[in-house]
C-alpha cells in the first residue's frame, strides 16, 4: 500500500494515487496527502487505478477529504476504479457525493 500526491503545475489540481489496499492502515498517509499543502487546490482527484480493495474506513477517509475540500461545495473526483472497487462505491451510493468514473 502506498499513497502519492501530485499537484498540477498551476497548483489548481491535486491528484492522490493510492496503490494496493485502501483501508484503515492508509489513514495517516491519506490525510497527509492533502493536509500538507499550504495552498488549497480547486479540484481533488483520487486515482484508484492501482487500488485493489477498499473498505468502509476508506469510504470514511473519502468523506474526510470531501469535508476538507469544502463539503457540498467541494470538487472531488474519484477516477479509474476497478470493478470490485466500483461495486463497493455503488453499494454505498457514493456517486451521489463524488464524481465517480
Amino acid at each position: 500500500m502506498s499513497v502519492e500526491s501530485v499537484v498540477s503545475p498551476d497548483g489548481k489540481k491535486l491528484t492522490i494515487v493510492i496503490k494496493g489496499r485502501f483501508d484503515f492502515s492508509s489513514h495517516q498517509l491519506f490525510r497527509d496527502a492533502y493536509e500538507r499543502f499550504y495552498k488549497a487546490p480547486d479540484t481533488y482527484i483520487v486515482d484508484l487505478k492501482d487500488t485493489t480493495y477498499l473498505d468502509s474506513s476508506a469510504l470514511g477517509m473519502l468523506l474526510l477529504l470531501r469535508d476538507h475540500a469544502g463539503g457540498d461545495e467541494s470538487e472531488v473526483r474519484v477516477i479509474n476504479s476497478n470493478s470490485d472497487v466500483r461495486k463497493i462505491l455503488a453499494i454505498s451510493n457514493f456517486d451521489k457525493l463524488f464524481d465517480i468514473n
Binding site: 484503515f24 468502509s56 474506513s57 469510504l59 470514511g60 477517509m61 468523506l63 474526510l64 469535508d67 457540498d72 470490485d84 455503488a90 453499494i91 454505498s92 451510493n93 457514493f94 451521489k96 457525493l97
Partner: protein
C-alpha cells in the same frame, strides 16, 4: 562494544565445578569482570544454591560427582520457569555427541577448557543480552495480557449496558425472526434491532457502523434509542430514518457513518416497506415460486447527508404468508479465502439456488462460508423474518402511572391537515398519543392505531391523491401504485384530510368517535363493501381489517367521510 568491556549490569553468576582449582580460577576471572560469584562443587549443590539465591547465569561443569551437570541443568531450567537463566557448559569434551547433549539438557552454550577470559566475557555478555530480551518479551506479554483483560472487561460492561437498550425489542422473543450474529458483533459495528409497532407491524434494522471496536459501538446506542422510542409511538419508517440520520450526523465524526437497512413488515397489509442505505442487497424470498426480489441499496448510509439532502424514500413490496425477508451484512460477502478472493454475491446466489429447504438456508450459507474460508468470521450477521398469520403482537406503548382520575372525559377536537402538511408530516403518532390520554382506550391502543392508520391512508391515497387500489392486484402494479403515490404526493398543492375526535362519557365508561373526511371525489361504498374479503388479494386489505377491528363503521357524503366508534366500560 569490546568483549573486555564490563557488562552493563553486574550479574550474579553461579559456577559449578568439582575441581577446586578450576573453580578458583574461573571465579577470579568472572569477579574481575565485575560480577558476583556463587560456587558449587557438584550438581546437587548447584541446584541448592540456585534455589536459594536465584543467580542470573550459570557456568556448569558437565562431569561432576553426586549429580552431573546435565541433570543439574534440567533441574535449574525447570526451576527458572519462563525466565531465561542461561547455562554455559564448561567442558573439555570434544565429541559432537557429548556437546550436543549439553544443549539437549537445556544448556545455551558451552565453553571449552582451558578458559579464554576474552571469550568467556563475550559469551557472558551475549547470554545476558538474550536473558534481557526474554525478560522484556515476558514483561510485554504480561502487559498485553493485562490490557487485553481490561479491554474485554470493558467490552463486557459496555455490552451489558447496550443489551439492556438493544434487546428491549422483540429480536429474541418474536417466533418469526431467525438471526445469526456473533455475541460481540457490537464491537464489529454490526447492529440488529427489531420491535413491534402499535398496529402490530414489525420494524427491523440491520446496521453496520464504519470501523471496529468501541468507536463503532458508541453510535449504536443512540440509534437503538431512536429506533425503539419512535417505533413504539407509531412513527413510520421515513420519520424514524430522518431522526436517526440527523442524530448520527450530529454526533459522529465526518468519517464515521452507519450503513443500514430498515424495514417494516406488515402481516395485516401483506407488504414490506424497505429503505437500504449502503448495506448489501437483501431479498424477499417468495415461498411458492422461489422468486427472489432484491432489496438494493438506493441511498447513502445514515449520518452522511445533512437533513435537507437526506433521501427518505422507501420501496414497498407485496409479500404473502410464508414469504421471507432475508438481510445480511458485508461480512458474508467479504469472507475471503486463502487467496484473498471474496465470497461475493454470485456464490451467495448459488447457495440460494441450491437451497431446497427454506428452514436450512442459514445452515447452508454458514456451511458454504466455512467451506470457502475454512473458518467462520465473527462479523457475519444475517437475519430472516417470515411473514406469519395469527394474532399480531403489538407494542404495549409507554407505561402510564396515572390513576385515570384526571383523564379527560367529555371533549372534542378537530384537525385539518392540508397539502403542504400531508406531503411530509405523519399525524398518526401525535393523534395516538392524544387518544391514549383516555384511560379506557389504552387497552385497545393497537386496534385503535391500526384502524386510524388504515382510514388515514385511505383518505390520503384514495381520496386526496386519487389512487386506484385496483392497481395493487399484482406485484408489478403494486410497485407502480407506490411509485404513483410518491409522485402525486410530491406534486400535491391542494386538498385536505380532516380528523375529528369526539369523546362522550357513558356512565363510568365512554365512547370515542373518530371521523375522517377527505377532499377527494368519494367512492361507491355499497359496491366496494359488496366485494368478498379475499384474504390473498393484494388490494383492498385495509377495509377488511378495519371492519374486523372496529365495532361500527359508517360512510357518508358519498364515501368522502368515514366514522368509527370505540367504547369502553368502567375500569376495574
Amino acid at each position: 562494544m569490546s568483549a573486555l568491556a564490563p557488562a552493563h549490569e553486574a550479574l550474579t553468576i553461579l559456577i559449578a565445578d568439582d575441581s577446586a582449582t578450576d573453580l578458583l580460577l574461573l571465579s577470579t576471572i568472572v569477579r574481575r569482570q565485575g560480577h558476583q560469584v556463587l560456587t558449587a562443587a557438584n550438581g546437587r549443590e548447584a541446584v541448592e544454591v540456585f534455589t536459594r539465591a536465584r543467580p542470573q547465569l550459570v557456568l556448569m561443569d558437565a562431569l561432576m560427582p553426586v549429580m552431573d551437570g546435565f541433570e543439574a541443568a534440567r533441574w535449574i531450567k525447570q526451576l527458572s520457569g519462563e525466565a531465561l537463566v542461561p547455562i554455559i557448559f564448561l567442558t573439555s569434551l570434544t565429541d559432537s555427541a557429548d556437546l550436543a547433549e549439553c544443549l539437549d539438557a537445556g544448556g545455551d552454550d558451552f565453553l571449552a577448557k582451558p578458559y579464554n577470559p576474552l571469550l568467556l566475557a563475550a559469551k557472558i555478555n551475549a547470554m545476558d543480552r538474550l536473558r534481557r530480551l526474554q525478560a522484556t518479551v515476558l514483561q510485554q506479554r504480561d502487559l498485553i495480557a493485562k490490557h487485553n483483560d481490561y479491554l474485554l472487561h470493558e467490552q463486557r460492561v459496555a455490552k451489558a449496558v447496550f443489551d439492556k437498550v438493544a434487546h428491549s425489542g422483540c429480536i429474541n422473543a418474536a417466533p418469526n425472526i431467525r438471526y445469526l450474529q456473533s455475541p460481540y458483533a457490537l464491537f464489529n459495528g454490526d447492529l440488529l434491532l427489531a420491535a413491534y409497532t402499535p398496529s402490530g407491524d414489525m420494524h427491523v434494522l440491520l446496521g453496520d457502523f464504519t470501523g471496529h471496536g468501541l468507536p463503532a459501538a458508541v453510535g449504536a446506542m443512540p440509534l437503538a434509542e431512536v429506533f425503539y422510542g419512535m417505533t413504539a409511538k407509531g412513527y413510520g419508517l421515513t420519520q424514524i430514518l430522518r431522526e436517526m440520520n440527523a442524530k448520527l450526523k450530529r454526533i459522529l465524526p465526518v468519517d464515521m457513518f452507519c450503513c443500514a437497512t430498515l424495514l417494516c413488515l406488515s402481516t395485516d397489509r401483506r407488504v414490506v416497506e424497505v429503505w437500504n442505505g449502503g448495506m448489501p442487497e437483501g431479498y424477499v424470498l417468495e415461498v411458492t415460486t422461489g422468486k427472489r426480489t432484491p432489496l438494493a441499496s438506493r441511498h447513502l448510509p445514515l449520518g452522511v447527508l445533512s437533513a435537507e439532502l437526506f433521501d427518505d424514500r422507501t420501496e414497498v413490496w407485496p409479500v404473502a404468508l410464508g414469504d421471507r425477508v432475508f438481510l445480511l451484512s458485508d461480512g458474508v460477502l467479504e469472507t475471503a479465502d486463502a487467496n484473498d478472493r471474496l465470497f461475493g454475491v454470485e456464490r451467495l446466489q448459488q447457495v440460494f439456488d441450491a437451497n431446497r429447504e427454506p428452514d436450512r438456508l442459514f445452515d447452508d450459507i454458514e456451511q458454504a462460508l466455512v467451506a470457502f474460508r475454512g473458518e467462520a468470521r465473527d462479523d457475519v450477521s444475517m437475519v430472516e423474518i417470515t411473514l406469519r398469520s395469527g394474532l399480531a403482537t403489538r407494542a404495549t406503548g409507554p407505561l402510564y402511572a396515572d390513576s385515570g382520575q384526571s383523564c379527560p372525559r367529555d371533549w372534542s377536537v378537530n384537525f385539518e391537515f392540508r397539502a403542504e402538511t400531508l406531503k411530509r408530516y405523519n399525524p398518526l403518532p401525535y393523534l395516538l398519543q392524544l387518544l391514549l390520554e383516555i384511560h379506557g382506550l389504552r387497552a385497545q391502543s393497537g386496534a385503535l392505531y391500526s384502524v386510524m392508520a388504515e382510514l388515514y391512508s385511505n383518505a390520503l391515497e384514495h381520496g386526496v391523491l386519487g389512487l386506484d387500489s385496483l392497481l395493487k392486484r399484482d406485484a408489478q402494479g403494486f410497485a407502480e401504485y407506490y411509485r404513483q403515490r410518491n409522485e402525486r404526493l410530491a406534486q400535491l398543492d391542494s386538498g385536505y384530510v380532516r380528523v375529528q375526535v369526539q369523546v362522550v362519557p357513558n356512565g363510568a365508561g365512554g365512547t370515542m368517535t373518530l371521523r375522517i373526511e377527505d377532499s377527494g371525489p368519494g367512492f361507491d361504498v355499497e359496491k366496494v363493501l359488496a366485494q368478498p374479503m379475499d384474504i390473498d388479494r393484494l388490494s383492498g386489505r385495509g377495509l377488511g381489517l378495519v371492519r374486523q377491528l372496529s365495532r361500527d363503521i359508517r360512510w357518508s357524503d358519498g364515501g368522502r367521510c368515514v366514522c368509527v366508534e370505540f367504547s369502553w366500560e368502567a375500569l376495574a
